[in-house]
């Protein structure tokens, strides 16, 4: 049961202790990685599949002497590649992360948070409202229409326009 370790790997004297057994890596990274993947899939079944595939693919390739930052980066890179595969299979196009560069300018600890205020703040009020009702509160189209005082057909169109406007705004931000 208890597997004795062989001699420890050579380590630079004074380097911080690194115990990169896979259990620790998994413990530390599963929740943030899931959050990252969920924010790119927006649904639980895909988020769970992509997270599983990422860990199963990445963990066996991790060397024991890599830094926490490198582990983080490697898991993210692997997740991006898995996400791109899923996207290509399902939607037939290359996945271009619409605001990837904006993400990377944020401090590392904020990258795990799903903060959509930059997306929403850039939109006109009615676009912002329709997206808040639909996505953040999970309202049906009918409920959204009632809450906004517009017709159902109008709410349907409004949500699509709002998404496309937000997408266009994100793309501009990346270029600027």
């Amino acid at each position: 049961m208890a597997v004795p370790e062989t001699s420890p790997p050579l380590r630079v004297v004074g380097a911080p202790e690194r115990a990169n057994d896979w259990e620790s890596v998994y413990q530390e990274h599963v929740a943030p990685l899931y959050r990252f993947v969920y924010s790119r899939t927006g649904n639980t079944p895909d988020a769970e599949d992509v997270t599983s595939t990422t860990f199963l693919r990445a963990l066996p390739r991790l060397r024991s002497d890599v830094s926490p930052g490198e582990i983080h980066a490697y898991l993210r890179t692997t997740a991006r590649s898995v996400l791109a595969d899923v996207w290509r299979q399902r939607h037939g196009t290359v996945l271009m992360e619409f605001d990837d560069q904006r993400d990377s300018t944020q401090p590392a600890e904020q990258q795990d948070e799903v903060d959509v205020s930059p997306i929403l703040d850039s939109l006109p009020a009615n676009y912002r409202s329709v997206l808040e009702f639909r996505f953040l509160r999970g309202y049906s189209i009918r409920e959204t229409a009632a809450a906004m005082g517009v017709s159902v057909a109008n709410a349907k169109v409004l949500q699509l326009r709002a998404l496309r406007r937000a997408a266009a705004t994100g793309a501009r931000d990346v270029q600027s």
Binding site: A2, W22, P60, A167
Partner: protein, 224 residues
């Protein structure tokens, strides 16, 4: 509505229903779809992995680490001890328990069968007494544990419903008084022992149960 409008509408509907979006060309709406995913992920409580998922993936990884030679050739090492109560680990992750506690959890010896003894536990009601009359098997998910409660020999009992092979959730078959694995041709009887089959499997861990007025409660990891 144009064809592209209908496609984007279906994509949005899937996300809001928490389903996989349908297979369809994204064309010019690729970025809009990603905005939709990002927004959906921001809804309250949405982006935390479920303890059951964390637990199942831990088991899959452990299975892979044990059986795939690539893992031992690569530099990453196994802990000196096998992971013990993985459901407890899942609960720790969900609750953000400190590293010191996780070390304790991880250095518990691996159990085969036995009774689940969470180091931080709570009694949780998972069924009405009327749901566990003889001949019924009631499934539950509580505190990161997928389990079943039922009556055997006049006593109410609980068992983990996670197959000890690869972590698939077992399906109760009350008429045959067994739990069947959906992944492989294996089943467990209600004492938790694997029925003879293609695989030799460890028994299912037992879960402590008690009756509180008209509810059946189980002792599971406490997490908030």
């Amino acid at each position: 509505m144009s064809k592209a409008d209908r496609r984007l509408t279906r994509f949005v509907q899937a996300l809001i229903a928490n389903r996989r979006p349908p297979r369809s060309p994204a064309d010019d709406d690729s970025a809009a779809m990603q905005v939709a995913a990002r927004l959906r992920a921001a809804h309250p409580g949405g982006s935390t992995p479920s303890p059951a998922f964390v637990d199942t993936l831990a088991r899959q990884l452990r299975e892979a680490a044990d059986h795939e030679p690539g893992w031992t050739e690569a530099g990453i090492r196994r802990r000196r001890f096998l992971v013990g109560g993985l459901a407890t680990v899942a609960a720790s992750v969900a609750a953000g328990v400190g590293v010191e506690r996780l070390h304790e959890v991880l250095t518990e010896p691996a159990s085969s069968g036995g009774t689940i003894q969470p180091y931080i536990s709570a009694w949780v009601a998972v069924a009405k007494l009327t749901d566990v009359t003889p001949g019924k098997i009631k499934q539950f998910s509580a505190g990161g544990i997928q389990g079943v409660v039922f009556t055997l020999d006049g006593q109410i009992r609980g068992l983990s419903a996670v197959c000890t092979h690869q972590g698939c959730t077992l399906v109760p078959q009350p008429a045959q008084r067994k739990l069947v694995c959906p992944c492989h041709p294996m089943s467990f009887n209600l004492t938790g022992t694997a029925n003879p089959g293609d695989y030799r499997l460890n028994p299912l861990p037992a879960i402590q149960t008690r009756v509180n007025t008209d509810s059946v409660e189980v002792l599971v990891p406490a997490w908030t």
